[in-house]
Symmetry: C2
Subunit: 364 residues, 2 copies
DNA sequence: TTGTAGGCGTTATCAA
DNA sequence: TTGATAACGCCTACAA
């Protein structure tokens, strides 16, 4: 390769290669004090406009990026939120995480995310990491831990429990550093059950998921709604355990043993998997049994048959969580609880009257 | 409430309420030097076992958690990875994120996550946050930015591009701070096309997604495979744009205008949405047209008909990304590129020979 | 309008 | 085996 005349601009006091430029470097290079640089970068009006511009331009040119660890240390603010979810693989958690991250970054916070995978030890470890990082706020979707402990652990940072139908959160009204954001599961399940009853369904099976708290809530709500609707026959309950993603073939037997005409599932994943298993078993949905879900993940709208479900505004809930945290940090207080409206999505999987034979919906 | 005898252990020099206990507090309380505490907590063998235990117990009891900002500052290590994904709402990205986070935390790193939502400005902002946080490594799924710039920006921290069929990444072989993890899309698409051809399919339409690079790659691979398989008729291409989640009804017309008997979709989301739209339009899958996806998200296995697709090991790819970063930090070098095997999942949506009328699969 | 100095909570290098 | 002490990079009184 031929030699060329190269004009290399050697920076005066070139910092170690690989070392990132610091505020001090900038100060030295511009011949001003560190504090001046710091203030100039914050556009502090007590610094002359000329200096501000000069410094800012230099910073720009040299690619200066403030070190947030240093800043966090002195400001006692990490500008970071923690986010604890059971499993981002689940679309509903993904949506929540996306909404949370989006809003957080909009209001100036970055987010450290952790998956618990339903493991208490993992969750404890994650919480530890969050305090080590001195997160300014924490959002938890379906904690396994005792909320009291968590809040105490993070005091004085605010904590918001999302989708927490956890009675402990609601009841104990800890202090104004705890918030909770819930979807109105009761109303959702009631609307769902009413719809099914209107369609002539009578023999209900509830298929439970693994999330203890909200599972219990939905199940209880279903039972209550049935009583209110005047359905006399007892609702059967089948536990799905930790399965619930792919076809839960083994469930079909247990469910069909109850000879139901409506199967209310804990969530959409479970319902979609179940519909697949039912198809394999030769059980027609909705003609023989109606199947419903909860969440309204995107796939519920395109399954065959399309899934009747209760839409939970997961993304919005994530956004609100971030907002609440930011608000709490600013105002030093938080609304203890927020209830989000849910929305019944009636689709093919629950339509048609079982008494009148095959439903009117086509789903070739 | 009756008064009770309460035994309150008043800590000697109680720190400000709300202030977290520091190493200095611990030192004062235990009557030793800060450095001793620091070493004791690290189980430094040059500290007597007795002191180690004493300090560790005190730390435990007082709930001391080291401040990672302070540590990061002095260690010049944040023990943090950055993760940039287009959209965690997408199961395939969620899986990748989950795998990445899981492995990262296993090897001692926490992860700051950012969604770009396909917006270049958002991506730039996120990258800025990552350098501000001095992440020790960065994983990017499908960057919009110029890889060169990104790597320069983060030097000397390693960067790995995941699922990057980005020619710039592959070609330029920047330095040993860049890695790339790709699924073998070419092989996957080829297997897929061959399977379709074997089933007697002849008239192909490729439906493209929005991710420029890998979309082009899959499309080219499909065309090549067809040629190799000796199919003479030209493969038509339809662009799906940014839609692709819910039923892309408008696509159906454009696709069916080509009167295909096989529709190869960019990914599963698109394929599942399309199958729904086809059903609405009265087009039978797979009898009239076969439909295939890419990714093998969980829902592909339970759709009706179940979706033939190419399984991409997203979670594993996420884990490998974290491993590569950790390895690179340790060894100061990185494998430039890693190719992961994909796996053709033949399911109902592509079965049956269109020449022999309705396929043998039932999907009521 | 700008500079000086102290400290945020750790780790690491010296001495003792 | 343990203690002082100086960084790490930044912010903010307080001086000048």
């Amino acid at each position: 390769m031929p030699r060329r005349t190269v004009t290399t601009v050697q920076v005066a006091t070139a910092p170690d290669p690989g070392r990132r430029i610091t505020l001090k470097d900038l100060a030295r290079l511009e011949g001003v004090a560190e504090s001046t640089v710091s203030r100039a970068l914050q556009s502090d009006p007590q610094i002359s406009l000329r200096t501000q511009q000069r410094v800012q331009q230099a910073a720009q040119k040299l690619g200066y990026v403030p070190n947030s660890a240093a800043r966090a240390l002195v400001m006692r603010r990490s500008h970071t939120f923690g986010l604890l979810v059971p499993d981002v693989t689940d679309p509903i958690h993904g949506q929540m995480a996306a909404g949370f991250e989006q809003e957080a970054s909009k209001v100036g916070y970055s987010v450290i995310m952790a998956n618990t995978l339903g493991d208490p030890a993992t969750e404890r470890a994650a919480l530890q990491v969050f305090v080590a990082n001195r997160v300014d706020g924490l959002a938890i979707w379906g904690s396994l831990q005792d909320p009291n402990e968590v809040v105490t652990m993070f005091r004085p940072s605010p904590v918001v429990f999302v989708a927490a139908e956890n009675p402990r959160v609601a009841r104990e009204h800890l202090d104004d550093l705890v918030g909770s954001i819930r979807a109105d599961e009761g109303a959702g399940v009631e609307a769902l059950v009413l719809h099914l009853v209107e369609q002539g369904r009578k023999r209900f099976v509830y298929v439970g998921g693994q999330h203890a708290a909200s599972n219990v809530a939905r199940q209880a709500a279903a039972r209550l709604a049935l009583r209110r609707a005047g359905v006399r026959s007892r609702m059967a309950v089948v536990a799905a355990g930790a399965t619930g993603w792919r076809s839960p073939t083994d469930l079909v037997g247990r469910i069909m043993a109850k000879s139901p005409d409506a199967v209310v599932c804990y969530d959409d994943k479970l319902a979609l998997g179940l519909m697949d298993a039912l198809r394999t078993a030769g059980v027609r949905v909705p003609d023989e049994v109606a199947v419903t879900g909860f969440d309204d993940i995107p796939f519920a709208a395109v399954s065959n048959p399309r899934l009747t479900t209760v839409a939970q505004p997961a993304e919005e809930m994530g956004r609100r969580a971030a907002d609440m945290l930011a608000g709490a940090i600013h105002d030093k207080a938080m609304p203890p609880s927020e209830l989000m409206a849910v929305d019944l999505q009636v689709r093919e999987s629950s339509l048609g009257d079982p008494r009148r034979g095959p439903g009117s919906m086509e789903h070739p």
